[in-house]
Symmetry: C2
Subunit: 434 residues, 2 copies
């Protein structure tokens, strides 16, 4: 009896929960609370499949809550330990994304037993002797996704340098970088997203626990987007500067979407075959200098961005999806969209068609040591090749973007995100076992 099925229908869940409570005894998690009259909405019951050609969390609609976490392999841990870790992580991700508890006794059909074959209670009989933390109990899967990536350093530490994709070569330095090495890069990277903050935190803790002695946390960041239903615009969100973010994203309906975002099923020469169906994630912690930004007039803010704040339309008119008219001049003879406007410099037309799928989270970690808000964007973008996505765009922005006076890139990561696991396979298996 999975938690998802238990809670999927409130009435049935109530009855089932009570019945199992009598059988399961204290502590058997199947004895979940009888559901009250209020039912789970689709916010709770929605789930994302773990298996597929691509990993989840790339084209999944923006999540209300997210965690990014990077690990380094522990000293002495190599390919074998990494393979075992990815196997554990994949099993946990699959289980949690289905709305089931992690750890011991998570297999279907075992959770209503008072004790396991070895006399322990099922919740305490996991492979590592652990039990689920219970943080996600009562909730549905809430669109949970878990996405795994490999950093450049992973390949040396596992003796797999020969299979490292050239696309993982370090990103160029940008003049506006203020990068903190301790919060950048890492051997392994996980992106967790969910529409419920406790479901996301539950997954974070379960995956951290899985790391065991094999890997140590290098850095960890938390982010958020709108709650489903708070706005009718699910695919784009406002950022903490108040701007609509993601308008220019390639759309899955576009014919070249897959080519731009994912490594093909048969990778081109020079790309290792284990990356089939994969993608590259560029992660940047972009601090927004909100105290400075908010001092600008609305007109000035819109000139910095090149779009209207209200509806995201280009300053040359139309709606959010109208192409900007980059040549149009105003009555003063100057371009309506200024030469250094963010939208002008970052538009694909100005970057040889470079495109990436931006799927960010906002972050807000309270007030920083300097008294200003420690807030901004956990920029996560996806592309088949960073040299045709993030790099050319950022290079251009770095030279003349009016927005750069109001942001600071504080951390950076580049990760190879392999294709999705097939049934019976774990993420990264084609790299680690062939």
């Amino acid at each position: 009896m999975s938690r998802r099925r238990l809670l999927g229908t409130a009435g049935a869940a109530g009855a089932t929960g009570l019945a199992l409570g009598a059988v399961g005894g204290a502590g058997a998690y199947a004895a979940s609370r009888p559901a009250p009259a209020t039912a789970l909405t689709s916010v709770g019951t929605d789930s994302v499949p773990f298996h597929g050609a691509h990993q989840p969390g790339i084209t999944t609609p923006l999540h209300a809550r997210g965690h990014l976490i990077a690990f380094d392999l522990a000293p002495g841990a190599g390919r074998k330990e990494a393979a075992a870790l990815l196997r554990r992580w994949s099993a946990t991700a699959r289980t949690l994304m289905a709305g089931e508890p992690a750890g011991g006794g998570a297999a279907e059909g075992t959770r209503s037993k008072e004790t396991g074959p070895d006399g322990t209670r099922p919740d305490e009989a996991g492979p590592d002797g652990g039990h689920d933390t219970g943080i996600a109990l009562d909730a549905g899967p809430s669109s949970l996704t878990v996405t795994f990536g490999f950093g450049r350093t992973f390949f040396d530490r596992t003796g797999l340098a020969a299979r490292r994709p050239a696309a993982l070569d370090p990103l160029p330095a940008f003049s506006s970088d203020h990068l903190d090495a301790k919060r950048s890069n890492g051997d392994l990277w996980i992106q967790i997203g969910s529409n419920d903050a406790l479901v996301a935190f539950h997954a974070l803790r379960a995956l951290q626990k899985d790391a065991g002695a094999a890997a140590r946390v290098r850095w960890q960041m938390n982010g958020f987007n709108r709650t489903p239903g708070a706005t009718p615009h699910p695919m784009t969100s406002r950022n903490l500067m108040g701007q609509i973010d993601g308008t220019g994203n390639p759309k899955p309906s576009e014919p070249d979407f897959d080519r731009r975002i994912f490594v093909p099923a048969t990778p081109a020469a020079g790309t290792p075959s284990w990356m089939a169906g994969g993608s590259y994630a560029v992660v940047r912690r972009i601090r927004m200098l909100l105290d400075d930004w908010e001092k600008l007039t609305l007109t000035k803010q819109e000139q910095v961005i090149g779009r209207r704040k209200s509806d995201g339309a280009p300053l040359t008119g139309g709606t959010e999806t109208t192409d900007p008219d980059l040549d149009r001049l105003g009555p003063d003879g100057k371009p309506v969209i200024p030469g250094n406007a963010h939208a002008r410099i970052s538009t694909p037309e100005a970057n040889g068609g470079a495109a990436m799928l931006r799927r960010p989270f906002s972050f807000h970690d309270g007030i920083g040591p300097d008294g200003t808000p420690d807030a901004g964007l956990l920029f996560v973008c996806w592309q088949a090749d960073p040299l045709k996505g993030f790099v050319p765009v950022q290079r251009k922005l770095d030279r003349g973007d009016a927005l750069s006076a109001f942001i600071r890139h504080e951390a950076s990561g580049l990760f190879a995100v392999p294709g999705g696991a097939r049934e019976g396979e774990y993420v990264g298996q084609r790299l680690l076992e062939s």
Copy 2:
């Protein structure tokens, strides 16, 4: 045209948004994006009234997202500046809780004009020359609440020491306290809650801006609870230890609820009349030592709490709402609910009927300097008298609670939260102007 009404019905909002867009020109916030087929759900459209006998955010169902922020009056600022600040804050709270933009031009009917009477655009014509940040645009009020309180030090700084309630006397020291003075107390306190993280952040920034030169941020904390619809249990939530939290809360339907939580409309002798309809908030940042906690077996965790993790029922059986049988002995002759179990020590029966309304947020600020999760509970509890609510319970917990080995009180605040503002009145006016 308020944002709430604009977005309340997706179809109408789309049409209206377009029409206003033509009139309003670039930057007029009424020209919101045409709504797509997806409608706002009640998560977005729900709103809480600002005016009333009590301030909002006390009996409001748990919010998915919250901010706590404390201010100290700036040097030289006194009663007059405080009164002006509370007037500004109340106006902003009322506006934002109705789903309208903050700052200049927020008045209904002015937002579709290209320029105001003085030739400026309405969005730039606010009393402080500022404009709304736009962060909450597109979203409904999302159950936003803003709640204001006064700390003990406020009264000296405003020459109002004679009107300070005795209930604001400092909380006693507890042996388990590890309090950080810089993150504790403060002249003024605001609690912000919403079911959308961007709506909450928008309010936080607007209220900070309102403080102007009158007050400076002392500390600020972020928290969260479940997303509406992720669980069928709206009034209680799990905390980050996986426990159901809030089961023992007094219920508004109980006859003595008001007496326990709110100062009466005619306060008893010794309580200043300006506190009529008010309440006292005790705020504690309670760090959870999750790495230690999660090493315990499920059975041990349940003995520490005295309740089953799965469904919150007492270890003596029943359901979440069953009274614990504190006298029942197990087969081993020991109490089924151990003598030091948290639920035994904190139960109202063991504390002379002391009761408080706990309305917490979880917090998770990433990984602390010691490598463990900087996570736990932003404990916020409400009572008519802290000496009959928080203090006796915490005193007892401090002496023998099994849970205390797994938590650490890191910050503390005690605030007098006046009754709700009547129409035309601002919060605290009865203190500051009579």
